[in-house]
């Protein structure tokens, strides 16, 4: 089920290498939105009928997250509070602080053939999944040969 994102076989390693090389080249003339990654980490996949976006954003208030689609640009924005300790702050020590806290915003450009009205989102186990339908005309059709 996960093979599309997570296959780590030889071929995917080759793909990865190729991407790395591509990335190195792009660095001299990067995309206008940059190559930056941030919080939340995002995976994007496509099926014949939809584009699936997975934002790995654990511990956010799903009712307050803003998902916006403007033309083909999808924006995910929200806020995640810092972790708090038990008891008063004056007597606590943060030994490790790696988790993201504060406001976040990520922008994903979607393919041309999406249907802006066919968008849905749900949040489960800390992953925000956004499904955007693709237009029917863009879906592959089988042509009958007479």
């Amino acid at each position: 089920m996960f093979t599309s994102f997570y296959s780590r076989g030889l071929m995917s390693e080759m793909d990865r290498l190729q991407r790395e090389v591509q990335r190195a080249f792009e660095a001299t003339s990067p995309s206008i939105r940059g190559l930056s990654r941030g919080f939340p980490a995002v995976n994007v996949g496509t099926t014949p009928t939809s584009v699936e976006i997975y934002a790995f954003a654990p511990g956010i208030d799903a009712s307050k997250v803003e998902v916006e689609l403007d033309r083909r640009v999808l924006t995910i924005a929200g806020e995640r509070p810092a972790a708090t300790a038990n008891g008063d702050d004056q007597r606590t020590t943060k030994h490790i602080a790696e988790r993201f806290a504060g406001r976040f915003r990520r922008v994903v450009t979607l393919p041309d053939d999406i249907d802006p009205d066919g968008i849905s989102a749900n949040y489960r186990d800390g992953v925000l999944q956004i499904t955007v339908k693709r237009r029917e005309s863009a879906q592959p059709r089988r042509i009958t040969v007479q």
Partner: protein, 150 residues
């Protein structure tokens, strides 16, 4: 764009060697390459906060995509082990076009110090955030030491 958060590909992803008896790789196959070319030992480090207060330590770990059922938190001797698999459902006919999370397993371990009470470790999982509370043993609770001024 805030970039101080995740960057799993460059420095958070690493390949773990064989783990104690948990490896599913048969003995006659080397660690890094199985016959089918998949590497099942690949894990990533969950990002954590570790906060200490006078009565104990709180560990908060980001495990997005891990359900309560696929999470494993264990204390063995003086080691705290956090392990979890990403179990979010995905359409079978999907092809990936961009992936920042490429591994389905989180794994991280910590060594506990002696004053912590291993018997009373508490863990709670909520929307991909794991919160572990490890209290200090009662004989290790803080005493205020009076400073004599002469």
């Amino acid at each position: 764009m805030n970039v101080e958060g995740f960057d799993m590909n460059t420095n958070q992803t690493y390949t773990q060697g064989k783990t104690n008896g948990q490896s599913r790789v048969p003995d006659n196959v080397s660690d890094s390459a199985r016959a089918d070319g998949r590497d099942d030992d690949a894990t990533m480090l969950p990002q954590v906060d570790v906060i200490e207060d006078p009565s104990g330590i709180t560990v908060v770990a980001d495990l997005a995509g891990v359900s309560k059922e696929s999470l494993d938190v264990r204390v063995e001797a003086d080691t705290l082990l956090i392990e979890g698999d990403i179990t979010i459902p995905m359409p079978g006919d999907m092809t990936a076009s961009h992936a920042e999370v490429e591994v389905t397993r989180y794994r991280r371990q910590f060594t506990l110090s002696k004053e912590l009470d291993r018997e009373k470790v508490d863990a709670a999982m909520n929307q991909g955030v794991l919160r572990i509370r490890i209290p200090k043993a009662s004989d290790a609770q803080p005493r205020r030491i009076a400073v004599d001024v002469h």
